[in-house]
Amino acid sequence: MNFDPNLIRNFSIIAHIDHGKSTLADRMMELTDTVAKRDMEEQLLDSMDIERERGITIKASAVRMFYHHTDGKTYMFNLIDTPGHVDFNYEVSRALAACEGAVLVVDATQGIEAQTLANVYLAVDNGLEVLPVVNKVDLPSAEPERVKKEIEDVIGIPAEDAPCISAKTGENVSEVLSRIVDTVPAPTGDPDAPLKALIFDCLYDNYKGALSYVRVFDGTVKTGTRIRMMASGSEFDVTEVGVFAPTWKPVDSLTAGEVGYIAASIKSVAETKVGDTITEASRPAKEALPGYKQANSMVFCGVYPADGAHYDDLKEALDKLKLNDASLSYEHETSAALGYGFRCGFLGLLHMEIITERLEREFDLDLVTTAPSVVYHVYTLDGQKIVIDNPSNLPNAAEIDYMEEPIVKATIMTPSEYVGTIMELCQNNRGVFVDMQYIEADRVNLHYVLPLNEIIYDFFDSLKSRSRGYASFDYELSGYAKSELVRLDFLLNGEMCDALTTIVHKDRAYAKGRAVAEKLKDVIPRQQFEIPIQAAIGSKIIARETVKAVRKDVLAKCYGGDITRKKKLLEKQKEGKKRMRQVGSVAVPSDAFMSVLRING
């Protein structure tokens, strides 16, 4: 027998990093006896090491709770967690689409941040009821009344009686639970209609295969149901359905209004695409739920094993990660400087960092990564359009008619005292000012249009340092725009190093060329000969630095007692050389390729 849909509440929590989302979720699980306190790992929802260290959620996740309300009834709460980073905007939108309501958590000492705002808008767009909650009222610097007013002014929802809580101490958290019952609508849907289940997340399990995390909108699904993925058309037989209690717990069926998982011996998460609709093969729904999009890689970089012998290990590791991450793409590429490796595509810079970090940590690989690149559209004189994700594949300037680069709409929220320095930063990064709104007397919301290329390097870090950490940032892709771009090459001792090639705006090429050449001069060790480092656009040299030759590389003393020691020393030095990449005649340390991107040219 299925649960009365009128007693179900499906909701998610929206919050800025560190505003207390995971802590609140933990308290809710404790209060509803979903998990015993002693079983709680700190912050149960963020379960990956990297997630915990960075304090962000990468994958969505869900948990079912039973709440005994003061009206005497027991409600089923399905809390669907959302990823907390702009790279995963689409995943956030699908997780929100699975809910009827959202709890908006705002830090009483900070106020609304850009990221929160973007997600609240997503929630409102998806027709969710928003329940504002002011958190961290136990802190001395808390200003709950100011924050409530800000919520009303900026988001335009009433916040006068928003619960003021401390997720840390548990103060008033029970009020949030009871307000969820009142604020979030019960799901509607027809349990007898053709099946419509939204995939809001997926996960690969070694035993069950790829699992779809779903919200059922219409119909019922149970073991043995033959299902069809509406976007891909693939069909599978369901082997298990279950709920998050909070770990996987098989149930007989999932029906309209419920949240759970579906296992169907699916080999890869490529078949369980987030946003897709699952229906019955024998009685398909007329149309899929709206909003499905193919995930597109926005940022690309070359990933190479530091030791060429580990190419196969890297491939195996990428294959494994791909099982669980449909948004990761990669294909083999060869670099003259770095040998065999892969060009990998990511949703954004954070996604890239997470993947490379997981490759190094979980698979114990030593990697060389090249500077990230966006995807450029190149229109040649003979009327072709070429899509370039690796700068060294850019055709000759003489063959190019024009180029386009991806552009984003950026929202920056900041205390007004930093507006000047932030506008300068945006200007330096080719930003075009759109508008500025005062949220309060001393806080503003800035809108800029920026080339994606300019924000994938260290824009976010610069923003944080210029605003002493107070500014927050969010962006969405807004298409492509024509741009005067050039290919910037680097030559070491006269030989081009393809792994260092980048595409930059022509006005920035000189500064960038100089900065990178200077950086290379610092990271390339002195060798037996002088090494000219040149930055070039086509055949034109725009910057030059020189690594001086080693003056003395000879041991002053070598007598009878030193021979064995001397041989050992030579062996050790040779080992050190192995960590270097040979670019023509020049040995370059593996990390030089990445260090180059830490430059805001």
Partner: protein, 388 residues
């Protein structure tokens, strides 16, 4: 024909940069002399009739022991092995660690080459590196050595010392050369881990001149030495014509030598095999073994032909003369350039070889500056490829 090295591990006080096996002179010194003489008796039986062309007493500061002990040890060697009539018999000494009488006794006992550690003529620099003597004390020792009869004298110098300028170094060379020794060793300071100087530099209490400045110093010093008639014949060694140190040439020619005393290393032919071995490296262990009547050996390795070849290259390229290709072929049955063709060619592109005499594989001055990187290239040659 071999060389014999005798290690005397005592000093009046250890210098701040020194990582050699040496300790301040203590009560073990008497037992040490007996142990050495016992070791000589043991090796005499192991290598009967081995002819000796050079003897070298090094340390430490050999003259930290009484001259009579040193003479007794030399006599023991003479009794054990036939010494060539023109054998070079060297002893290292430090100013302050020997007087006029002692020097005289050494000369009379047959020591015919003296090596004096000076390092620099500026007393402030000597103090900073922990030398126990002043320049004036060195000068007195040098005069006493001449008076005692020594004509073949080496003086050790260093560059790259804390606080040292190029002028300091060149002044040192001029002052020393004016005394007319036959040989000058000029070493670049090596900062060795575990020494007080190393700790001071790491902790920022002491600073060394910048490496480019040291290289300038070294180059200027080399020019000056040659100008003053001291010809470079090895990376750090300069001599008047005919006065290269014959004992040290044994090492650089990769010829056999027998090391006696604590921590001494040897390369000898035993049962037709080339072996390298070392003695116990601490004094109590060394004494204990000998007092039980056993050879004080610690490690012993067989050196195969391939490794011997590399060692011959590693040592031979230190010499300005380079490697005698005919001698190399006679010893190993292959030509040195053909054997290491890849490394040879790579470094030829850098212009590191001196092509003036095709009978030798010889580095030019620039190549000598890059010796270690050249050796790393030679080291790339693998035994397995060589055997093919």
């Amino acid at each position: 024909m071999i060389g014999v090295y005798v290690h005397i591990p005592y000093c009046l006080r250890k210098c701040r940069y020194c990582d050699f096996c040496s300790v301040p002179i203590d009560e073990t010194a008497g037992r040490y002399r007996s142990a050495l003489i016992k070791e000589i008796a043991l090796v005499k039986d192991k290598y009967p009739g081995e002819r000796v062309k050079s003897v070298f007493f090094g340390g430490g500061t050999p003259t930290a022991l009484p001259a009579e002990d040193l003479c007794a040890i030399l006599d023991a060697i003479r009794d054990a092995f036939p010494l060539e009539p023109d054998a070079e018999i060297s002893i290292e000494c430090n100013p302050k660690a020997i007087g006029h009488e002692g020097l005289k006794r050494l000369f009379e006992a047959g020591f015919n080459r003296l090596s004096i550690g000076l390092q620099a003529t500026q007393n402030e620099l000597l103090r900073r590196i922990g030398r126990v003597h002043t320049f004036e004390e060195f000068f007195a020792t040098y005069q006493a050595a001449r008076e005692a009869g020594f004509t073949n004298i080496n003086i050790d110098l260093m560059h790259g010392l804390p606080g040292q300028t190029q002028d300091d170094y060149l002044d040192t060379i001029r002052t020393v050369a004016a005394l007319g020794p036959t040989h000058i060793s000029a070493y670049s300071l090596i900062l060795e881990e575990g020494t007080p100087l190393y700790d001071d530099v790491i902790a920022g209490r002491e600073t060394l001149p910048d490496p480019d400045a040291v290289a300038d110093m070294e180059d200027a010093g080399m020019d000056l030495l040659e100008e003053l008639g001291y010809l470079r014949y090895e990376v750090s060694n300069f001599a008047k014509p005919g006065f290269a140190c014959r004992h040290n040439l044994i090492y650089w020619h990769n010829e056999p030598y027998l090391g006696l005393g604590v921590a001494a290393h040897s390369s000898m032919v035993e049962d037709g095999f080339w072996v390298r071995f070392s003695n116990e490296s601490n004094i109590p262990a060394y004494l204990k073994k000998l007092e039980k009547g056993k050879l004080p050996r610690a490690e012993r390795i067989l050196v195969n032909t391939f490794e011997q070849m590399f060692e011959s290259v590693m040592l031979g390229l230190r010499l300005v003369e380079g490697i005698d290709r005919a001698a190399f072929s006679a010893r190993f049955g292959c030509d040195v350039i053909e054997t290491y063709l890849e490394a040879y060619q790579k470094n030829d592109r850098f212009g590191f070889w001196d092509h003036s005499d095709p009978a030798y594989l010889r580095l030019n001055r620039l190549g000598m500056d890059h010796l270690d990187s050249i050796l790393r290239d030679f080291r790339e040659r693998r035994l397995i490829d060589f055997l093919r």
